[in-house]
Amino acid sequence: MLHHFIPDAEPPPRSRGGEPSIVVVPIGARDVLRAAFVWNLAFEIAREGASADIVGPDDGDPTALWPYVGAGPLGTGVTIAAAHGPADLLRAARDLADARTAESTHGIVLARVPPGWLGTAADAGTLLRWSLLFSAADRRDLLETYALAKRLLCAAPSMRIGVVIHGVRRVAEAERAFSRLAQAARRHLGARIASYGLLVDDLHLVRSIASRRPVGLVHPQSPAARALRDVARLILADACGDGDA
């Protein structure tokens, strides 16, 4: 089990009455790698029996990031919203969550927010409660991830920030990377970030982008699929309110 490195999470933003949780994922318009993580993660969340939707803004060609728009495997969905800022986008995510409430006991809406929008993210108000960041273990990626966390916390100081470390070969490498991020956030931002584990460096992920089929569907027992599944379970545990033990 690839698990939390440090069990220091604040109480998670619980799903209210089965309403899917909205998780902000800052992803640039050409960041196909992180988009692939999110898309594969949505599939694993759905496989756990929860609803899983991705919503993103109409800021270019959506199929540059996502393999399709609309319904996908296991009821996952990609929705493109005519949003002009984070508030618009997260309202669209909330509408999607509301629509899902009647159908599902719990679930996740992953809202892809362009990083350039985070400066005005405070406009989204209380919808800005939970964010998931993906970082490699190298200095440059950690700096970028820290900067994203800083922007998010400026917009919503009580926001829960979760981090997944990717592209590592060993758990110890991910632990060190997360530890550096966590220490920097604690010292300079006065915030505690939560670990959502790691994604191993697995070629199946690269192939899934090309084939446009989730890793968990094509190679369900691959290290990449299993790691994604662990991340999905951690997220769902927090969304259901039983991950803060």
Binding site: G28, L33, R139, E144, K150, V206, I209, A210, R212
Partner: protein, 189 residues
């Protein structure tokens, strides 16, 4: 002897033209069929054909995005394979060998170990990698290409001499956009 001075990477069309002029340096005899071709919802820098009629897709990446370039290229190759039949019907005189596999030639300022391992594992015979360096040539910019060996012995990823502070992050933000203090940056040194 004059020292080579690195130059900023020119805009895409200029870079494509420079690379096109230097493809012979890689020992590849490629005939360019079309440039800046819209493939799978994104652009393929050049569609070329070699002497055997094999289609070679040329894709040029930017610093720090070599793994992204590989994923993009694999997706584009899958798309081209699907559409090869149409191309052959529309333009049988292109000299394309219908049964030949579609090859990839990827160019980037550097290839990291993950990209090299991925390329080697996915298709070492069908993917060629080369690093490019933009250098000053008098008042103009030229490009130098150097092949990266994928099979047969150790691979070399090449150090990236690019000033990383000017290269956008994957998020699209630049170093200046991050707005971090020196003290914050030191925590990651």
């Amino acid at each position: 002897m004059r020292r080579l001075a690195l130059a900023p990477v020119p805009p895409d069309p200029d870079l494509r033209a420079l690379v096109r002029a230097r493809l012979g340096d890689l020992g590849l005899a490629l005939r360019v069929l079309a440039e800046d071709v819209t493939g799978l919802d994104a652009s393929i820098d050049a569609v070329t054909v070699d002497l055997r009629g094999t289609v070679v897709l040329v894709l040029i990446g930017t610093a720090g995005r070599d793994l992204e370039l590989l994923a993009h290229a694999l997706a584009q190759r899958a798309w081209v394979r699907e559409h090869m039949g149409d191309w052959l019907k529309l333009a049988p005189a292109l000299g394309i060998e219908s049964d030949a596999p579609v090859r990839l030639l990827l160019l980037a300022p550097a290839f990291g170990p993950r990209s090299l391992a991925a390329a080697r594992a996915v298709d070492p015979e069908g993917i060629d990698l080369a690093v490019y360096r933009c250098v000053r040539n008098g008042a103009e910019t030229d490009v130098l290409l150097e092949p990266v060996r994928l099979s047969g012995g150790d691979v070399a990823g090449h150090e990236d001499p690019t000033d990383v502070t000017a290269v956008p992050f994957r998020t699209g933000l630049t170093d200046a956009d991050l707005g971090l203090s020196a003290a914050e940056r030191r925590l990651f040194d």
